[in-house]
């Protein structure tokens, strides 16, 4: 497998805030790589550097063997970047939007006809091609944004929280489209705060406060929770969750009426701190548990 993206010691500061602190990772061809982390972790900054629209202070990002600071335009010819709010011209129609981006990328007119037809078909927007982009639903806008980004058949697709604010059904549809692209050999790097989405990635990197604190496949990430996850039902889940975490030093979160406890604790510890007899089950946990665990513990290595 060839390497599409190689990031080494990437650092970027804005005034006093260090947004990205020396992160490094590689992404191979055909991979779906997820940058996951809480808001303000530096994900978007990292993505903008990869998209060659922001220069790093230190370190380097190599895309398809080219440096992002010295070969901006060559990189732009071969990658696509979809920002959080993909920019569509609301007063132009679906087709005009796609055509505009095709023109901007210098796609030949002959190829445009077949390419646009294919993209409209693929995104099932054919019947809406004469509709102004502003009159589309959120999910359709998302698909149109993706179609615009892919109009020049890029080799790498950068997605910054692509399904933010999109309903679950449209999100699923969006992912099906993405998988089709991956089958055709596209490499994808995405940021997300949705954990079900993170589980769909081949590999993940957890970012927190500008640093990558953990990385691996979703399975590997889950195994980073030492000793698994204890779950119990509670009538006052928030109260008992806080109680457990403050008394035992473990990480504890609430899922509905369930309390999940992770970290250096035993079943007995939980029983005694809660002070009542509870039914505790132990599972391996999900990426979501790992996300909470990794966000709340300083991960020293």
């Amino acid at each position: 497998m060839s390497t599409v993206v190689r990031v080494q010691g990437l650092t970027k500061s804005f005034k006093e805030v260090q947004a990205v602190k020396g992160i490094s990772f590689d992404v191979a061809k055909g991979e779906v790589f997820g940058l996951v982390g809480p808001d303000g972790a530096g994900k978007t900054t990292a993505m903008r550097i990869l998209a060659a629209i922001l220069a790093p202070d230190r370190g380097s990002a190599e895309i398809l063997g080219m440096d992002t600071t010295s070969s901006r335009e060559k990189i732009h010819d071969r990658i696509a970047y979809m920002s959080q709010r993909f920019g569509l011209y609301q007063d132009l129609t679906v087709e005009e939007n796609i055509r505009f981006y095709a023109d901007m990328y210098g796609v030949e007119k002959k190829q445009q006809e077949s390419g646009i037809k294919k993209l409209l078909n693929w995104s099932s927007l054919t019947q809406f091609r004469k509709r102004p982009a502003g009159k589309l639903s959120g999910g359709m806008k998302q698909k149109l944004g993706l179609a615009c980004a892919l109009v020049h058949t890029p080799e790498l697709l950068l997605l910054d929280e692509p399904t933010n604010g999109v309903d679950p059904v449209s999100r699923k549809e969006f992912w099906n489209l993405l998988y089709k692209l991956v089958d055709e050999g596209l490499t994808i790097i995405m940021t997300t705060a949705y954990l079900d989405e993170a589980e769909r990635c081949h590999r993940l990197a957890f970012m927190n406060k500008g640093e990558i604190t953990a990385r691996g496949t979703p399975g590997e990430i889950v195994r980073l929770i030492p000793g698994g996850v204890y779950k119990f039902k509670s009538d006052n889940p928030f109260e008992e969750s806080n109680l457990v975490s403050s008394k035992t030093g473990a990480v504890s979160t609430v899922f509905g009426s369930q309390v999940h406890v992770m970290g250096d604790v035993t079943e007995q510890d939980i029983q005694t701190t809660v002070g009542r007899s509870v039914q505790i089950s132990k599972t391996q946990g999900s990426v979501e548990d790992a996300f909470v665990y990794l966000s709340e513990t300083v991960y020293d290595r």
Partner: protein
């Protein structure tokens, strides 16, 4: 012209023409403004209701009154006492008073609360009384270039400078910020499009709109208001191009310091008001204090105003107007350069 620039212009054109508000701004607004300044905004005094109180009632006083009435400007309203006349002035029923006391001494009073026209009225009165003097030398003043001193001839050419600044400055600054606001800017930045192509693609359409405005207002001025265009049309166009460098440069500069379209619009007004007030459009620059006069040197509208009036009314050529052209060129270059440099930095 590069291919991408052509497509960018095509897109801008498509967006502009699709927006019904834009069509109004581009065509209807300039004509409307010209008509307003041509008809409504006038400092000419046409008819002044004047109270006449003649306590002497001699042939001499009646002769003076007759002269005022014969001018066609003063419409007499006969009153029997000073008090009656004063009351009428308080009620704004009259705008001037001609008062003769029992000895035939005359007093002329105008309503100073009406500012500019009070002065003009007093001027007329002085002219009429001047003619009455049986002196060996008669004083007669004549205004060159605008013999009737019609304010329309003075203001309508100036409207071109105002109009072009208002329209191109506001629209261009908002258009660039709009791309940032809706997120298309970030998307365009990841296409191979070059920055200069984006800037030219964004500004050129407004340059064209500005030129169309100049032509429309000039046509209305010449064919509707019969304001003579003594100078050459190519010189007018050259001035317009240089002037547009300034307004579009300002527009781009504003867009680099604004995050939203609202901010851009407010900043644009912040530029337009002082620029208009300090342009000589309504208030002569020569009468301003030295400090303010110094600031007007950096106001492109000042130079455009001079060029427009000289071209329309005097028919001057480059031999006398070149300093104004040069100043606009230098200011425009400085503005555009600063804006483009800042534009690079911010995005």
């Amino acid at each position: 012209m590069s291919k991408r620039l052509k497509f960018m212009l095509k897109k801008e054109l498509l967006q502009t023409l699709r927006d019904p508000r834009m069509r109004i701004v581009i065509l209807v607004m300039p004509i409307f403004q010209t008509l307003v300044f041509g008809y409504a905004v006038t400092t000419d005094v046409k008819s002044v209701d004047t109270a006449v109180v003649d306590l002497a009632n001699t042939s001499a006083t009646r002769a003076v009154t007759d002269q005022f009435v014969a001018s066609g400007i003063f419409v007499p309203v006969w009153k029997n006492s000073y008090e009656e006349a004063w009351h009428a002035m308080d009620q704004s029923e009259i705008q001037a008073m001609i008062l003769f006391d029992r000895n035939g001494r005359m007093q002329f009073v105008t309503d100073g609360s009406r500012g500019l026209s009070a002065g003009v009225t007093a001027g007329y009165a002085a002219a009429i009384l001047g003619r009455n003097q049986q002196a060996p030398v008669t004083v007669e003043s004549r205004a060159w270039y605008n013999p009737m001193l019609e304010s329309r001839n003075f203001y309508v050419p100036g409207v071109i400078a105002m109009m072009v600044m208002v329209i191109t400055l506001i629209l261009s600054s908002m258009a660039v910020v709009r791309e940032v606001e809706i997120g298309t800017m970030e998307q365009i930045m990841v296409t191979p499009m070059k920055r200069w192509e984006f800037i030219v693609g964004k500004l050129l359409p407004f340059g064209v709109i500005g030129m169309v405005n100049v032509l429309v207002v000039t046509a209305v001025a010449v064919f509707w208001f019969s304001i003579p265009l003594q100078g050459s049309v190519p010189l007018l166009m050259l001035a317009a191009v240089l002037y547009l460098m300034n307004t579009l440069g300002f527009g781009l500069l504003i867009s680099t310091v604004s995050r939203t379209q609202q901010q851009a619009m407010l900043s644009a007004f912040f530029v337009i008001f002082p620029a208009s007030l300090l342009s000589g459009f309504a208030f002569p620059i020569a009468n301003m204090p030295a400090v303010i006069r110094f600031f007007t040197l950096f106001n492109p509208m000042r130079y455009m105003m001079t060029i427009l009036r000289d071209l329309f009314l005097k028919g001057n050529g480059l031999s006398t107007l070149w300093p104004n052209y040069l100043a606009m060129f230098l200011l425009g270059t400085a503005l555009l350069t600063t804006a483009i440099l800042r534009f690079r930095k911010t995005s």
